[in-house]
Symmetry: C2
Subunit: 142 residues, 2 copies
């Protein structure tokens, strides 16, 4: 006799995740972004020297081939650029344009308000705990 599905952390995780992603996608649509491309843009903005696509894939937990398409999309929208890396000419650094930074800020605000309904009912301390747990879950397997 197994436990009920409502107690399954994996199920709860993916259900809540799907809900939040849906809400975020809806908010990002007016900026021409989706959760995935937005994540790439944010990472590019917060790295001083740009990030290689390999690093992006690792941090995001995605296949590198998906990152290619996401960066393609952002380049086409004029939000990031691919720069040749001096040290290693295999890698191509993803760096944001000034337009990219602007869109990132505006989109970030909208995304935050979009998830206020599902996530706002958690207190600050709870959110910190949740962040901590989710980060530890991620780092558990490397």
């Amino acid at each position: 006799m197994g436990k009920p599905l409502a107690d399954d952390l994996g199920f709860l995780l993916s259900r809540a995740s799907g809900q939040v992603v849906r809400a975020t996608n809806a908010a990002l649509a007016e900026h021409g972004l989706r959760v995935r491309s937005y994540s790439v843009l944010v990472l590019a903005c917060e790295a001083a020297d740009g990030l290689s696509q390999r690093e992006l894939a690792t941090v995001l937990g995605l296949d590198p081939s998906q990152v290619v398409l996401l960066v393609d999309e952002l380049v086409a929208a004029g939000l990031v650029e691919r720069q040749a890396a001096e040290a290693d000419r295999r890698t191509r650094l993803v760096v944001p344009t000034s337009e990219g930074r602007r869109v990132r800020d505006a989109a970030g605000r909208d995304a935050d308000t979009a998830v206020e309904t599902p996530l706002g009912l958690l207190g600050d301390a709870e959110r910190d705990r949740l962040r901590d747990m989710l980060t530890r879950i991620w780092t558990a397997t490397g």
Copy 2:
């Protein structure tokens, strides 16, 4: 100047979810199941009188048309049956076969051990807290 992506609960949620789903799918593969079909099977098993596909869709947070395909798959595998509901002939109740119950138990054990690595490092109290938060996030929007 927004917050770093590593602090974004939506991102952390979907990244952790993806990881757990990947691990679970790998464990369920030998039973011919995936996370989605497994969830349907578990729900069918724990409802005494079966569940309508509409109820399944609501609980799982999926589009009803997806549930159709999942139930089709489980029916083809001989794990559940569609039964006519007496009260409302529009609805079709999804009830497990005895084989379905057996597979559900075996698959459930494998799925649990598969997520031990990412989720096991959380203590019992933490897991309860996580469950509680994820459930509240879900019920926030109805």
